[in-house]
Amino acid sequence: MIDPSQPTLKGSSLWLDAWIKLGKNRLALSGLVILLFLIVVSLLTPWIAPYSYEEQNLMLGATAPSAAHWLGTDIFGRDMLTRIMYGGRVSLMVGFIATAVALVIGILWGAIAGFVGGRLDAVMMRIVDIMYALPFMIFIVLLMVVFGRNILLLFVAIGAVEWLTMARIVRGQVMTLRKQEFVEAAYSMGLSKWAIIRRHIIPNTLGPVIVYTTLTIPSVMLLEAFLSFLGLGIQPPQSSWGLLINYGVETMEEYPWLLIFPGITLSLTLFALNFLGDGLRDALDPRASKD
């Protein structure tokens, strides 16, 4: 406990307390370490990758893991480790950026609709309904046709679809929170609506938001693989974990390592995300037990 007579008191907040609590949660911490490791490796890939990701060696073909190629090679003789490392760059970027886009839009949209209520809420939620009803594929194809194929566009497109559910979750939470006395107390204290949303509403919606986020990141990664598989996402020779898994499935019987290693990497990421998400949810809830 911090000595309350010290000026460090100011720094104590939900986030600082959450950080201290997270530090005590081994599982969450190991999740964080795994994720950081994957991110650092992805960032450094161009410098530390053992081979080139596009150079084919058809003479070599698909080989099982060996000293030269730790995770084996694919049917074009490309090093799997290198391809997984490069694939991680795309997958992690799509996962985090698209989810971040979904988070920001979804939380703001849901919080405003739920807090203001009335007619604005009705209009905002009907927009969400219409977006839900739009066939996702047509939406993406339209975007591609209008703006051309671009990896950034992929982030925006996925993010623009994933925020809908987030907005609904947040709106439901906010509508129950809005009626709480502590929100009315804040209002009677003279706080502006924006200050109330930011200080009193959003922190109290964090639990379900974090859980949903940890579910969104993997689903976004798989969505990217699906789009790429259809030729709408990234293109070979570039790769992503989703794409590698897709190709791996095709050659599963002859060359199982082409499926196993990207699969393990993706699963590891998902485990890490879930552990971290659960840890964060508990850490951000002061009512969760302290031990």
Binding site: K10, G190, L191, R199
Partner: protein, 536 residues
């Protein structure tokens, strides 16, 4: 021989934080046709004791360490699950505190009433649906439900809180139990309804010759109804005696503390300067809501043409039953609920004419203390953040001075400085209400609306919070509108009292004048509902 004889009962809870003794060597007995009141603060073990009789405690963590409960020759703690099921509902029935959540909202009350008759665990006692219905209707009539034949098919939400509690009592009685356990059956109810329910329990007990165990935190409530009183504190028996002895000749320190916590007597009113313009003036305020349920629009006149004014330094009590519009009036004064008509003038400024943005500087001067200290604090903010927020937001403190000012506030409301970094859930109800009061006085307001600030608290805690409020009002020269349904509380701290009934102000007078000469029938009925503690 006593119907129920509990001997040397000890119960403890085993959690990973260690072992807590909830009940420590408690003995008591109840005869047929007798009422035993178990009184104590929350956490005193009174509910645990009674729940253990029906095997309703979660085991683990609860462990019955020792003791016996002899009910009509059978030890309740030794009998099998099957035997216990026979006792539950048949021989021993229970009434719970909250009539709002104890009934299934998807079944009509009739359906819920006849359920135990039709689906009786002992098939030889099962009766036909028609016979069950006749019996249920007779019982509804007995507990004071008007038109029981029509009400038989109503759903719980169509009843008021007091009526639901009557239905709950009917449900408890349907299998003709010999022992009725009432767990704070009137705590969630208004004073007038409480008086009716207490009377009902007393009458039923006389007519049916059942034994009653009545759990309460409020000695005043049990004075009239109990034959014997068991006072518990921290799981131990403090005192056990005939009711009259407890109230008149108790030598026990804890019992005396409980008795002195019952609000009695009047405030010594200081003479207020009647000249000069009032600080707050409410004129012909109407607040209407449109009710869209049942497809037809219906205007609910929550506040209907109310005028009142407060002089500086005055505490005005606003009393009435739930639904009388007193809370809505409070919220209308603070401009938290939109006015349909009328004006609210504060220190010469017409608040009701201001735009929301113009109101912000005024909000500093008018604050509110809410009823439920569990809901009125943000669970994700520490006490420090809760108290610092209004200070920083209104520019009453800068980053350097805010820590000092928060500490000062903690001292003012009687909280330990060392708990400044704790979250609300780590405090008890009374302490939480202190935090909420600290937040309300942080902005140095001139006027505070206290909306039932003590009705969610135990009697002893209630007395402490009332003292705190009185002290702060005196120290800071505050003006206060004190909303309450409890007239004895109002009498203790208010200079004047205004009575609301169905949205209208029906009577307004100085506190003692109102007590001595209530003019309206409604006021008289409120006054007569106060549980009497002077047993003669």
């Amino acid at each position: 021989m006593a119907l129920l004889d509990v001997k040397n009962l000890s119960i403890s809870f085993h959690t990973r934080h260690g072992e807590t003794k909830a009940v420590d060597n408690v003995s008591f007995s109840v005869e047929c046709g007798e009422t035993l009141a178990i009184v104590g603060e929350s956490g005193s073990g009174k509910s645990v004791t009674c729940y253990s009789l029906l095997d309703l405690l979660p085991k683990p963590p609860a462990v019955i360490e020792s003791g016996s409960a002899n009910f009509d020759g059978v030890d309740l703690y030794q009998c099998s699950n099957q035997q216990m099921q026979q006792f539950r509902g048949n021989d021993i029935a229970m009434i719970f505190q909250d009539p709002m959540t104890s009934l299934n909202p998807f079944l009509t009350i009739g359906e819920q009433l006849i359920e135990p008759l039709i689906y009786h665990s002992d098939s030889s006692q099962q009766v036909s649906r028609n016979a069950a219905k006749q019996e249920a209707i007779a019982l509804l009539d007995e507990v004071g439900i008007i038109n029981p034949e029509d009400r038989f098919d109503s759903y719980p939400h169509e009843f008021s809180g007091g009526m639901r509690q009557r239905v709950m009592i009917a449900m408890a009685l349907i299998n003709k139990p010999r022992l009725l356990i009432c767990d704070e059956p009137t705590t969630a109810l208004d004073v007038t309804i409480q008086a009716q329910i207490l009377k009902l329990i007393k009458t039923l007990q006389k007519n049916r010759d059942v034994a009653v165990i009545f759990i309460s935190h409020d000695l005043a409530v049990v004075a009239d109804i109990a034959d014997k009183v068991l006072v518990m504190c921290d799981g131990k028996t403090e005192e056990q005696n005939r009711t009259q002895e407890v109230f008149q000749n108790s030598s026990n320190r804890y019992t005396k503390a409980l008795l002195s916590a019952i609000p009695t007597g009047a405030k010594t009113t200081k003479s207020l300067a009647q000249d000069g313009s009032p600080l707050l003036q409410v004129e012909q305020v109407k607040t209407y809501f449109t009710d869209f349920t049942n497809s037809s629009e219906k205007v609910v006149k929550a506040v209907d043409d109310v005028s009142l004014s407060l002089q500086k330094g005055e505490i005005l009590g606003l009393v009435g039953e739930s639904g009388s519009g007193k809370s809505t009036l409070g919220r209308s004064i603070l401009q938290l609920a939109p006015l349909t008509a009328g004006t609210v003038r504060f220190a010469g400024t017409e608040l009701s004419a201001l735009q929301p943005s113009q109101l912000i500087p005024w909000r500093r001067k008018l604050q509110m203390i809410f009823q439920d200290p569990y809901a009125s604090l943000n669970p994700r903010m520490t006490v420090y953040q809760t108290l610092a927020e209004p200070l920083l937001y209104h520019g009453l403190a800068n980053k350097k001075s805010v820590a000092k000012q928060v500490e000062q506030l903690m001292d003012d409301v009687g909280l330990a400085r060392s708990s400044v970094l704790k979250y609300p859930h780590e405090f008890s109800g009374g302490q939480r209400q202190r935090i909420a009061i600290g937040r309300a006085i942080a902005t140095e307001p001139e006027f505070i609306i206290a909306d039932e600030p003590v009705s969610a608290l135990d009697v002893t805690i209630q007395a402490q919070i009332l003292d705190l409020i009185l002290e702060l009002v005196k120290q800071r020269d505050l003006t206060m509108l004190f909303i309450s349904h409890d007239l004895s509380v109002v009498r203790k701290i208010c200079d004047r009292v205004a009575v609301m009934h169905q949205g209208k102000l029906v009577e307004e007078a100085a506190t003692e004048t109102l007590w001595a000469n209530p003019e309206m029938d409604y006021t008289r009925s409120l006054l007569s509902a106060i549980p009497a503690t002077n047993l003669s």
